[in-house]
Symmetry: D2
Subunit: 307 residues, 4 copies
């Protein structure tokens, strides 16, 4: 059975953090409240779990399965879609995670390029993606493009060219790069049942102008409510208002970046802003220095006093 | 005397090619017709001369002076503004070119970061720019940000911070990079008499959405007429039309890039499309393989049959 | 019990390929003959298994355990030392592999820097390595330095500074980089019970001159017999002879690199030269185009007719 | 007239700093004493002037001519050879400097790859070098390979292949890179009248092992006396002694690098150690913070108390 095509993925998708206990073990009890926070406080109805923000590469295969299952279960009736990221260095592991995602009825999977042995061109990368997809042929499939971290500098457009012949369940791309010609060409040449989603939160407005269908990112965990307004303003033709919100987010994120905004700081910032107990990150991501996240949270409230 | 601030630099600015004879010497006779072509066929009313497109780094100081003078003279009454790029590796040479630009009454100068010895931070770069500007204190001054070629990865925003205290004649930036958070912050924090201009032609629409004031680029030599329509559509709130034009330009440029779109090919393409005799580039830029430019010109006409 | 320090790791260490069946599953039956080939034909008495050459990042944790166990068992009485590489993206997995390596009585383990989330400085990296080592505190531990692939550009010397306080079982480094000041400083400041091993086969002689204690690399699978002569010549003060052999290896490898010398080609070359059936690599490493390995093998025989 | 081939360039060549006055103008009066210092205190008999260390890219063409002339004149009867670097971004300027070098009877010229417009392959680079060399066909010509700064990642071996057909006066390469396979292949395939010189001072011993004929570098201005002993020890087969000296130099330079060892610091260090008044560097190279050079000089004396 081919995946239904009536469930387009659009709007905001939060790339979720993985909750840990203080001791560094995965912490399932926070997942329910996390989902409630996103839907109730941020107006976010889609999640991308076990991705980069979720520290998936620092998790064992078993941990990833347990987490994916919990996210899917707790999201039932609350989230529109749960996309489970199943990419990893090993094709074997990615296939095992894909089979599991199908079993737990994830709405879709996403796969990043393997980055230790780097595919040298689009054909190699597509061969890898195809082998992953083949073990769950009816599960909607997204390619996750993140060249700055993977070092795989293959244009996303070259990956998308002809991919539906290899992967009939292909449904789009999470494009986390700054080459907006490549992004624009993904948009302009995509069939109507694909979603071309943007993943560089600090310049989302640029991608919307270029025709992007939605956005996936870690900051939507806590600025989702504001970015929903940005998207509404954009859709209503009010570019001035959309830009005003985008500039506020840029002010926040550039402030954070000057302090050193890595995943450990980002995770702690989410704990500060949401009240959830997400715990520390796992090595090699370092825990946030105590005052960094507080300082950024303070900045957040000064920029967005209303929320 | 401070430069007048009533002459804002907006809209399209063509970064001009330097005409050479077949023997590789600068060829002044083409400059008059070149200006007429831009104003009459492309609707372009501003030029940026002796920049990257103009092969300035391959020119001697004397050649740059002769060219600057000819461009300014022939542009009189036809162009709104002529910006003369005076950046080079040597501060001494840049100062000499700046004094000359003032003498020939250029409308403004622009300076790129020196790229052999790379400034290690914004303060070093600003010290360099200040020393250049100081020899012509009333000449409007633009910083030319081109990190992919210079390797100087200092955010433009950090260069702009406090720069007007060092350079009272500072008037803006030609931002040729893909970091649109950096660009957005240049826009949002700029005083009204600065121009924040974008220089990555294939994604101009993104920069317009982010609030950019204009565009400088080499392709405006031959797609200027289309990009003027893109800008009009954008300003009229017709994003669909603006995007349609942007996508056409992306189709053209990605076609060209697959063939190998360096400055030599770009220059020959301009000769093909304009009928001007711009001659070959100078080493180390290689002449265009004969059929490349023709093939791209053919693509151009198939995408833009109307012009 | 602290690891014995009388078993210094010196001379040649072959980084072994992982044998696969034609269908792409691990193929244990080739491991015994592989060890015999190395000892009998190449004069190699140490192996580094499940490393980069062994495609460890493309293997599941279970596969890595099965392979490590087979290598250790078959090497008994034939090899001096088996170093099992246990590094991976996930600390959890690395710890599990480390415990297993202790159980199967590997002679030592080695750990590469995690490369998806890149440690930002030496302290972070050492924290990660310490957590891995802590689960098998008496197993000799080597740091595997491979900055060109991991993108972790922390000097090895900074990793080694003070590491024995964190990891009492620390015994040295596999240094696969071209910064020979960093390498030299590792050599000059190392205590006598550490081994500083070099991993860029094509310039081993340079590292020997700098005082290196041994060499780990993939090419020693098939040029080990020649490199043993290179090392002997070097130790006997016959630099001219050592250089002659090094130049031959450079001639071979630069020939291979012009053809495209990735891991898939390297693996097939080993099959050609050894007669072993190592099978194809696993995606995202691509199988060798049929004639490439043959062409390099032919070059090998023309350069080294005697062996 | 072809250049004589009996004057092989070997041993140490100091890449000289350019003396400036406090006001930042070139300062010719220090050049005579500089040469005496090198010959008398450092035992250095060859100089490479107007290179990277000499801040050539920050000098005007006129300044470079004046300096080259003064170096050649003052070196007469004292230095074996003066190599004048004439490379720059502009072919025109490089040709003018080459003609001038011939007029002032420089012993040789050297040319770096242009780095703003980067030659995309060895053929383009050789075309550029050929055009420079052609205006002084009997002047010995060296290619200056410095990929880390130029960003021109063409293997030196590919540049050398067939170059004597294009440039009959070709005599060798200053190889300032860490790829010692590329270096080794330059050595092994060079005719006897070429000099393959190494330019990464902190790992010279590695290049000597690989068969290098000499060394060009900035540190030989002040550690020349020690490196002469290193070379003697190496030539006498005393690798232990050679390595001891190399390790001392590595200790010094890594100490300097931790403090931030750019050209401004290096220049000031030379002033401290030699007593010469070399003045500040020119922007964009920043002057040395006052205590940095002193601190490194103190380290120098603690490592090398005897000199």
């Amino acid at each position: 059975m081919a995946p239904s095509v009536d469930k387009m993925l659009t709007g905001l998708i939060a790339a979720t953090f993985t909750p840990f206990t203080r001791e560094g073990e995965i912490n399932l009890v926070e997942i329910g409240p996390y989902i409630d926070y996103l839907t109730e406080k941020q107006g976010v109805r889609n999640i991308f779990v076990n991705g980069t923000t979720g520290e998936s590469m620092s998790l064992s295969v078993t941990e990833r399965k347990i987490l994916a299952e919990e996210w899917c279960q707790k999201a039932k009736g609350k989230m529109d879609q749960v996309i489970v990221h199943v990419g990893c260095m090993s094709l074997k592991d990615a296939q095992e995670l894909t089979r599991h995602a199908a079993q737990i009825r994830a709405d879709a999977i996403a796969v990043i390029a393997p980055s230790f042995f780097k595919p040298s061109n689009a054909d190699v990368l597509k061969s890898f993606l195809k082998e992953v997809a083949s073990v769950a042929p009816s599960l909607p499939f997204y390619y996750y493009h993140l060249p700055a971290i993977t070092g795989v500098n293959v244009p996303a457009k070259d990956v998308l060219d002809g991919i539906e012949k290899l992967i009939p369940s292909f449904r789009g791309v999470k494009f986390s790069g700054s080459d907006l010609m490549d992004f624009g060409r993904c948009v302009s040449d995509s069939p109507p049942h694909w979603s071309v989603l943007y993943g560089v939160d600090e310049q989302l407005l640029a991608a919307l102008a270029m025709g992007g269908h939605g956005a996936v990112g870690s900051t939507y965990n806590y600025v989702g409510c504001h970015v929903n307004k940005l998207i509404s303003a954009f859709e209503n033709g009010d570019l001035v208002q959309a830009r005003t919100i985008q500039f506020k987010i840029q002010e926040l994120l550039s402030y954070a970046m000057k302090l050193g905004f890595d995943l450990g700081v980002n995770k702690q910032l989410m704990s500060e802003l949401s009240g959830l107990c997400l715990g520390p990150p796992r090595l090699p991501v370092m825990p946030c220095p105590p005052d960094h996240a507080q300082s950024i949270a303070w900045k957040y409230h000064s920029i967005f006093p209303e929320c």
